[in-house]
C-alpha cells in the first residue's frame, strides 16, 4: 500500500508536466484543427529560456517561470504568424509538413546557438523532504504539482468564464461566424498559441526542475507523450488533456514500478493505443461533427 501511494506521488509529478504540454496541443487543435507538431520543441525552447533566466540572469523560481512563459508565448505567436497563418486555407498536409519543419528548425536553431552538450539547470527550489504518513514528498514535487494545478485552474476559469474564453470555444465550433460577433479570429488564434506556448514553457521549467539536464532534443519524446496524452483524453477537449496526462503519467509510473524500466514506454503506449481502439475519440472526446 505505501508503495502504491508513493508511486501515485510520482505519477502526479509526471502527469502535471505532461498536462501542461498536452494542453497546448489540444488548445491549438481546438481553434485550428491542426496538430502543432512543433509543440514539443516549443516546450524544449521554454526549458532553455528558463535555463537562461535562472543560470545566466540568476533569477529565482517565480521570475524565471514568468519570464520564460512570456518569452515562449511570444515565440508561439511568431510561429503562428509566420508559419501557420499563411497556410490557413492551404491543404491540410501542407500545414502538417510545416509544423514538422518548424519543430526541426527549433531543434537545430537551439543546437546551433547553444551547442549539443547538455546543460545543467541550477536548483531553484530548496530541496526538503516531507514525510506524510508512509509517503515521501519532496519540495520539488510539491512545487511542480501546485504550479501545474494553479495554471490549469486559471486556464479552466479563463476558458469557461471570460468572453475571450468563450470566443476561443466559438472559434473551435465554427470560425466562419465568429467575425460577425465583432471578434477578430486572427487575434483569438494568436492568443491561443500564446497560451499554449506559455503553458509549455511552464512545463519546460518544471521538467527541468525535476530532471535538471536539458538539451535540444529533449522535446521530442516528451512532446510525443504529451500529444498521446491529449489524444487519449480527447483532442480539443481541455479537461481531457489534463485527464489524459495523468492517465499516461500513472501508466508509466506503474509499469516502471513493476517491470524493467526499458519496458516502460512500450507498455504504457501500448495500453493507450489499446484504449484508443475502443474509444477512438479519447476519454472525454466527442465524435467530431462533420461540418462543411
Amino acid at each position: 500500500m505505501p508503495f502504491v501511494a508513493q508511486q501515485m506521488v510520482n505519477a502526479l509529478q509526471l502527469g502535471s508536466i505532461y498536462a501542461l504540454i498536452a494542453l497546448g496541443y489540444t488548445l491549438v487543435y481546438g481553434v485550428l484543427r491542426l496538430i502543432n507538431f512543433a509543440h514539443g520543441d516549443i516546450f524544449m525552447v521554454g526549458a532553455f529560456f528558463s535555463f537562461f533566466a535562472a543560470a545566466v540572469l540568476g533569477l529565482p523560481f517565480l521570475p524565471t517561470l514568468l519570464a520564460s512563459m512570456a518569452a515562449t508565448a511570444l515565440l508561439g505567436v511568431m510561429i503562428e504568424r509566420l508559419a501557420y497563418r499563411p497556410l490557413r486555407h492551404a491543404p491540410r498536409v501542407s500545414a502538417v509538413i510545416t509544423a514538422l519543419g518548424v519543430g526541426l528548425f527549433l531543434e537545430h536553431f537551439t543546437l546551433a546557438s547553444v551547442g549539443a552538450q547538455p546543460r545543467l539547470m541550477p536548483p531553484l527550489i530548496a530541496s526538503a523532504v516531507y514525510q506524510a504518513g508512509p509517503v515521501r514528498v519532496t519540495t520539488v514535487q510539491l512545487v511542480i504539482f501546485l504550479v501545474a494545478l494553479l495554471l490549469m485552474l486559471i486556464l479552466d476559469r479563463f476558458v469557461n468564464r471570460t468572453l475571450t474564453g468563450m470566443a476561443m470555444r466559438a472559434v473551435s465550433w465554427d470560425k466562419s461566424v465568429v467575425p460577425l460577433m465583432g471578434i477578430s479570429v486572427d487575434r483569438i488564434i494568436a492568443l491561443t498559441f500564446a497560451i499554449g506556448s506559455g503553458l509549455a514553457a511552464a512545463g519546460g521549467l518544471l521538467y527541468a526542475t525535476a530532471y535538471p539536464v536539458i538539451e535540444p532534443y529533449m522535446g521530442v519524446l516528451v512532446g510525443w507523450k504529451a500529444f498521446v496524452a491529449a489524444v487519449v483524453g480527447g483532442i480539443g477537449v481541455i479537461r481531457g488533456a489534463m485527464l489524459g496526462a495523468f492517465v499516461l503519467g500513472g501508466a508509466e509510473v506503474l509499469v516502471a514500478a513493476f517491470l524493467p524500466s526499458t519496458y516502460r514506454d512500450f507498455i504504457a503506449f501500448g495500453l493507450l493505443l489499446l484504449l484508443l481502439i475502443f474509444r477512438p475519440q479519447g476519454i472525454l472526446g466527442r465524435r467530431e461533427v462533420q461540418k462543411v
Partner: protein, 236 residues
C-alpha cells in the same frame, strides 16, 4: 446620406461571378427586403456587406464609411449585424454565452445587462433556456437566438438571411412580428427572404435579384402587385 449605399457591387468566387454590379440603398429606419430565387446571389450580397467575402468591385458605404477595406469584425463595430444563413449559432456554448459573445467588441459594458433583458423580453423562451447548450434548442429557438445575438451587438443595421427558413408557419409569423417590433424600436433591417409573400408584407421597399443582377426595385406594396414578381415569386 443613406444609411447603407451599395454601388456597382461585384463578387467572384474564383472564376465564378456571383454578383454583376448591384446597386442598393437602405435608408435609416427602413425595412428593405431582397428577394430572389435559389442561387440569385442574396446571401452573397449580405456576405459582401459584412465583409465575409471580399468584393471584386464597387463600393459599400455604411453611414458614409467605406466598408470594402475593413475586416468583418470592424464592420460589426461600426453598427452592422448579420444573422447568417443557417443561423450559425455556437452549439457548444450556452444560450447566454452566445448572447454575451456578441457584445465582445462593445465598449459600453454597463448596458449589456439591460440589452439582455430586452432580448429576453422579446424572446421569453431564450430567457427560460439561457443556461442550456444552444445546440439543444429547437430550430425556431435557434433562429430567435441568432436574432437575439444580432441585437446584442447594438447595431443600427441588421442584415437577416432567410430567418424563416425551415420554420413552421406559426413560428414564421412570430419571428416576423418580432422583426417589426425591432424595427419600430429603431433598428434598420435588410431582409433576405425566399418567402417573398411574408417579406413584402413586412418591408417598406424591396429589390428583386436575379442571377447576380437587380431585376426590379420599388415599394413593397407595388412589387407585390407586379405581374412578373407575382408570377415568379408569389406563385401567380
Amino acid at each position: 446620406m443613406s444609411l447603407l449605399e451599395v454601388r456597382g457591387l461585384r463578387v467572384h468566387y474564383g472564376p465564378i461571378q456571383a454578383l454583376h454590379g448591384i446597386d442598393l440603398v437602405v435608408e435609416e429606419g427602413e425595412i428593405v427586403t431582397l428577394i430572389g430565387a435559389n442561387g440569385a446571389g442574396k446571401t452573397t450580397t449580405l456576405r459582401a456587406i459584412s465583409r465575409l467575402v471580399p468584393p471584386s468591385g464597387g463600393t459599400i458605404r455604411f453611414a458614409g464609411v467605406d466598408l470594402t477595406q475593413l475586416p468583418p469584425h470592424q464592420v460589426v463595430a461600426l453598427g452592422v449585424s448579420h444573422v447568417p444563413e443557417g443561423r450559425g449559432i455556437f452549439a457548444n456554448l450556452t444560450v447566454l454565452e452566445n448572447l454575451l459573445l456578441a457584445t465582445y467588441g462593445r465598449r459600453d459594458r454597463a448596458r449589456v445587462h439591460q440589452d439582455l433583458e430586452r432580448v429576453f423580453a422579446l424572446f421569453p423562451r431564450l430567457g427560460e433556456r439561457k443556461g442550456q447548450l444552444a445546440g439543444t434548442l429547437s430550430g425556431g429557438e435557434q433562429q430567435m437566438l441568432a436574432v437575439g445575438r444580432a441585437l446584442m451587438t447594438r447595431s443600427r443595421l441588421m442584415l437577416l438571411d432567410e430567418p424563416s427558413m425551415g420554420l413552421a408557419p406559426v413560428l414564421v409569423e412570430e419571428i416576423f412580428a418580432t422583426l417589426a417590433a425591432i424595427n419600430r424600436e429603431g433598428t434598420t433591417l435588410l431582409l433576405v427572404e425566399q418567402n417573398a409573400h411574408q417579406a413584402l408584407k413586412l418591408a417598406h421597399r424591396g429589390y428583386v435579384l436575379e442571377t447576380g443582377r437587380i431585376q426590379t426595385a420599388g415599394p413593397a406594396a407595388a412589387l407585390a402587385q407586379d405581374p412578373q414578381v407575382r408570377q415568379a415569386y408569389l406563385g401567380g
